[in-house]
């Protein structure tokens, strides 16, 4: 079972679904960022799984390199996202996204 592509892809799909649920349902902005990290991890898992089971030469190495790039971009995204959350918190005094309603008044 651990030697089939399907198992890894279904695992990745379930992880992505959990992350999307967290992104849609949580009220806290940092919880939403954590859910985005979960989704990025799911995508990474599927990239590595596709690469690991590919029959092309060098595909394993290419998949791992692309996953490394995704990790770097995820780090950049987390930095900027958390900085934005902190900047908003300094003005609004709350991390809850449904109280960010300055444009609805």
């Amino acid at each position: 079972m651990s030697n089939s592509l399907d198992a890894y892809l279904i695992l990745s799909g379930i992880l992505f679904a959990i992350g999307s649920f967290g992104f849609l349902a949580r009220r806290n902005a940092i919880s939403m960022l954590m859910s985005i990290e979960l989704m990025l991890n799911a995508v990474n898992l599927s990239i590595v799984a596709f690469a690991a089971f590919s029959s092309l030469p060098d595909a394993q190495a290419q998949g791992s390199v692309i996953a490394l790039m995704v990790m770097a971009v995820a780090a950049a995204e987390a930095t900027v996202g958390l900085a934005i959350v902190i900047a908003i918190y300094r003005n609004k005094k709350t991390p809850l996204v449904d109280e960010y309603d300055a444009m609805s008044r």
């Binding site: 695992l11 992880l15 990290e37 300094r90």
Partner: protein, 197 residues
């Protein structure tokens, strides 16, 4: 202080015992070690991810996220990409999780955690997530992948050659992107001298 450490130690011991008993049972049921490891790591990863999106205390969510990342690093090693597992531990557990925990500490209010964890759209979101998972599972199992029957273990030297020959331009671009993200993060989170406290 000891009275606080003791329950954590007990919980860790119980967790380890449960995991090893589960592994032994899986092996006895006719699976080999790799399958048993895969099932345990997958269960730990999905369970921790569910805890991340459902728990009330956000610091515990962050710690559960670390557990989920660690199980995913184990899955990478199981898949034959050990360097990627190491990078997962260093980047996600060592950098991103610490960043998120610091942001949690900076944005925690003095009063108790909010009554409502979820927004009003939580039920439709749950339905949508389940539908997405089922659709992905159906599509994956219905497709006939032209896959190898046996996984290839990835040698780190091969990966480094691909990284620094074929992917050297994206590598440099990513370094510039990280620099820009660092500067942008510092600029955004910086306290302005005359601004609101």
């Amino acid at each position: 202080m000891r009275s606080k450490i003791l329950p954590i130690l007990l919980a860790l011991i119980v967790l380890g015992a449960v995991l090893s008993i589960a592994g032994l049972m899986l092996v006895l049921l006719g699976q080999d070690w790799e399958d048993a490891l895969f099932w345990i790591l997958a269960a730990v990863m999905l369970g921790a991810a569910l805890l991340v999106v459902t728990m009330r205390d956000i610091i515990r969510c962050g710690l559960a996220m670390i557990v989920s990342f660690m199980a995913l690093a184990g899955i990478y090693v199981l898949m034959g990409a050990p360097l990627l597992g190491a990078a997962q531990v260093i980047v996600y557990i060592g950098a991103i999780s610490v960043l998120i925990l610091f942001a949690i500490m900076l944005t925690q209010t003095k009063d108790a955690p909010s009554r409502l964890v979820f927004q009003t759209q939580a039920v439709p979101a749950a339905i949508a997530a389940v539908v997405v998972a089922v659709l992905i599972a159906l599509a994956v199992s219905a497709t006939d992948w032209a896959e190898l029957s046996e996984r290839v273990r990835l040698a780190t030297s091969v990966m480094s050659r691909v990284l620094f020959e074929q992917f050297v331009f994206p590598f440099e671009i990513v370094s510039v992107l990280l620099l820009a993200a660092v500067i942008g993060g510092v600029f955004l989170a910086k306290r302005e001298p005359g601004g609101p406290s």
